[in-house]
Symmetry: C2
Subunit: 340 residues, 2 copies
């Protein structure tokens, strides 16, 4: 039982809780019997849903939490007041070493606040970023930070670059990942104040493979592996990415269905279209990790289905196996020594 | 000849200069004989290209400018040093009242700097924004600012909202245009410092129809008419919009062409696909105006073809006919009085 990994899962968070969450959990333990799940939430609701499945009950433990944090609640207040919410209870499991990781499809704000306040930062990490994998034409690119730290400082972005590189190298398996900073032009004199101050720091950072600026237009090409930016900008990138894909695909489908000829053609292109869209579907990578905490916290999309929940749990296994946090801890302590 | 409008056109700027520029110019005067074009650039190059067309030579005048500003040149320096460049010469035509407007597909930086330094701002306008029309599922949305003023202040964004509303109401014909601010969440407590400070100012601004925050995900839906944001964020939105569209369409086409079945289907869906893409093609609206200057400056895409050049010129006509600058001047002077 040495190589067991314990993942706390928020049974109450997200648009499809608890049905899809619990389906995803059962799928995960069926894929990997070394995963132990602590399903956190309202016991009766969870047990009633769990009763629909057959599974090895050694792999699932239900941890009762009577309260639920809603998406629209102000996160700081919610974390403070709702001590018996699924998010707070699960975060405490990670804090106390009773779980290695936590997966939630619930309130992003509450997960971010709880991650910092309850789970806590790795020593030396100034701001833990939320880092989703964006699907691109050539694979995936890690976007750091997509929403944890608005109005970040240059030193934060440098840490994002380092931690993002460790993640891409060890989780996705890309040697010496290429790092770029989001900019409003390719030339070195371009940028807002934050980018202008950060650029030389990244350029002179020996631990990363910095390749310069990237314009938003080139992000979908997938030529770089790690993209760093301030969280407000990252949030715009992530959400526009999702919105554009959904809108364009809808427009193309509607266009095809507006004529008989198009309808027949649509039937024929359906398999290839489906394959293309599947390649561009981020859910196969699971949710976004909040990197730099004493334990792993993964925030999956509020609209996640079982598949994304399963993949988020599987991602936790790789994260632990590859000892990502030990590597981050080491990188940050080297930095501290270098600072002296 | 009272209703003639004179448009200076940069014959040397952009990837397709001078061929597509001159084709676009000839098309424009053939559509509207009340347009007088001052084609600015190297006389010999222009005349040799013009000789390919038949047109009424009262509608085109060639203005010699020996220098060209390249895209990669630092803009402030270029505007200062290259006094005989097409951009500087054309901007001076606008400044001196010898042209009503200026259209360029050349260096964005040089056009922005020249607009402010040579053409000059309308009294009361703090920062003139660059405002392209984004194609959406329901029509178009004006994005202010997409690149002129990084690190803008709250008062700038309020002016963007006012000027953007005047533009949408009078050029696109939308009564009481809905204004939203780009934010990283829909809730009022969301935002970076700039957004948090700007939000109440917009909410209390009587001249605009402010509807609150918009998340980047919802921009393609086209539910609002004017979107305000700081230029770095706007640049990311504009460029990711272009990049996502191009990448997705390429992926879908490649996907179809990878099987015989898909290829036959592709032939059948081609007309509807073409129609959909045409609806989403921003070039029919021409370039982006730099709003708030003493004269109109339109920056068209560097990769513009004749069609975008023509439409940019036609846009100048509506701009003058609708007396946009007089309306902005009035709105800004009301503001000044209110400030006292």
């Amino acid at each position: 039982m040495d190589n067991m990994i314990t993942v706390a899962v928020d049974a109450m968070g997200g648009d499809n809780a608890p049905v899809e969450i619990i389906k995803g959990v059962v799928d995960a333990i069926n894929i990997n019997a070394n995963i132990k799940i602590k399903l956190v939430g309202q016991k009766d609701v969870i047990n009633s849903e769990l009763s629909k499945y057959t599974y090895n009950d050694k792999n699932i433990e239900v941890v009762n939490a009577t309260e639920v944090i809603a998406t629209e609640e102000p996160p700081v207040m919610a974390i403070k007041k709702k001590k018996d919410s699924s998010i707070v209870v699960a975060m405490n499991l990670v804090k106390n070493g009773e779980a290695d990781a936590f997966v939630s499809c619930g309130s992003t704000g509450a997960v971010l606040v709880g991650g910092q306040v309850i789970v806590g930062r790795i020593k030396g990490v100034e701001r833990p970023p939320l880092a989703p994998l964006l699907p691109t034409m050539k694979g995936v690119t890690l976007l750091v930070d997509c929403g944890a730290n608005v109005d970040a400082r240059p030193s934060h972005l440098v840490q994002f670059a380092k931690m993002g590189s460790i993640y891409m190298e060890n989780i996705v398996g890309i040697k010496s990942p290429k790092v770029a900073i989001v900019n409003n032009g390719a030339e070195e004199e371009k940028g807002n104040m934050l980018v202008k101050e950060t650029f030389p720091l990244l350029k002179n950072c020996p631990d990363i493979n910095f390749v310069g600026s990237i314009e938003a237009r080139d992000i979908p090409n997938g030529d770089v592996d790690v993209i760093v930016c301030e969280a407000f900008v990252g949030n715009v990138i992530l959400k526009l990415y999702e919105g554009m894909a959904a809108s364009l695909i809808k427009a193309i489908k509607d266009g095809m269905m507006s004529s008989l000829r198009g309808k027949i053609g649509a039937l024929l292109v359906k398999p290839s279209l489906k394959k293309t869209l599947k390649e561009l579907d981020g859910s196969k990578y699971g949710g976004a990790p909040l990197i730099g905490l004493n334990g792993l916290v993964v925030k999956a999309h509020g609209s996640s289905k079982a598949r994304e929940v399963t993949n988020s749990i599987i991602q936790c296994v790789t994260f632990k196996e590859q000892e990502i946090n030990e590597k981050i801890r080491k990188a940050m302590s080297v930095e501290e020594v270098a600072d002296v």
